[in-house]
Amino acid sequence: MDNPNHNAFDQELAASLSRGRTVAVPGFSGRVVEAVRADRRRRIVIRWSSVATAAAACLVAVLTLSAPSEEALNRQTLALVARDESAQLADLLGAADDLSLLSPAVEKPSVVEVLNAPGS
């Protein structure tokens, strides 16, 4: 059987809570829209900062990873030199110059020897 105290309790509990069911706050929607706009701006700044940071990190990584070692530079230089025909020619010419420097000096004949030569 229903306890009348329970019924009164349930009714007054419901009545009491329903009085606080809705609490309208004047100007609340305006405050929310302002807060949402601020949140939107903040998130745009955060997004662009993270994009800029990531881009900077990628640039540094590219520069670091693509920088050749000294040995690689030497190899590249030699390969370029080997492919460059003008450089080869220059090498040859350079070698010829060296040979001319090394060749023995020949004394030129004097005027007397020329005049005394047979058939002069």
Partner: protein, 190 residues
């Protein structure tokens, strides 16, 4: 207790407004806030016991709703979704504070057309109820607020709290018993 369907805002309008909010329409957001904030603040005030904190949390609910607008799928009613976000924020608030609200609430009764005497009785009762509700364990308080104050069906409460319906029923039963015990001076012993 009567589980009558409360007069909810039109769900179709909510869906339409949410689609506009997802596109960045602030006027649509303003309309949504106007439709739902009073109920949300009422629920939050019952939970945290402070008008200022309730408004602060309600603001955060709408900011989160705005962030999630593009991902929102209208499977549940928007009002239920809002209470779900609010409930999670209440749990965070309790964790942040490191304690649960146990003090009497800032509550001012609105006597309406009652005589002064009955207005005083209403105010007294309201204060007593609010004080008693503040002393309930958090899950019992949430369940009783959602079922009695917000008039939500058990299934929605279970979804909001992430528990089976049976747990919700148990908490509500225990909450009523505990409230009767706390308010025995008003209602006498059983």
């Amino acid at each position: 207790m009567a589980q009558e369907e409360p007069t909810l805002p039109d769900d179709e309008d909510d869906k339409r407004l949410m689609a506009l909010v997802a596109e960045g329409d602030d006027d649509a957001l303003r309309l949504l806030v106007n439709r739902h904030h009073a109920r949300l603040v009422g629920y939050l005030r019952g939970e945290v016991g402070s008008q200022a904190t309730a408004e602060e949390l309600a603001m955060e609910v709408f900011i989160r709703l705005h962030r999630a607008a593009s991902r929102w799928r209208p499977e549940a009613k928007l009002s239920t979704y809002l209470i779900h976000i609010a409930h999670n924020l209440v749990l965070n608030e309790w964790r942040r504070r490191g304690r649960k609200p146990t003090t009497a609430l800032e509550f001012a009764a609105e006597p309406g057309d009652s005589t002064q005497q009955s207005a005083r009785r209403v105010a007294e009762l309201d204060e007593a109820f609010q004080r008693a509700i503040a002393q309930l364990p958090p899950e019992q308080r949430t369940a009783i607020l959602l079922v009695v104050q917000q008039e939500l069906p058990y299934e929605d409460i279970a979804e909001i709290m992430g528990v089976p319906v049976s747990s919700v029923k148990t908490w509500i039963h225990r909450a009523r018993s505990r409230l009767r015990e706390l308010l025995k001076d008003f209602y006498g012993n059983e």
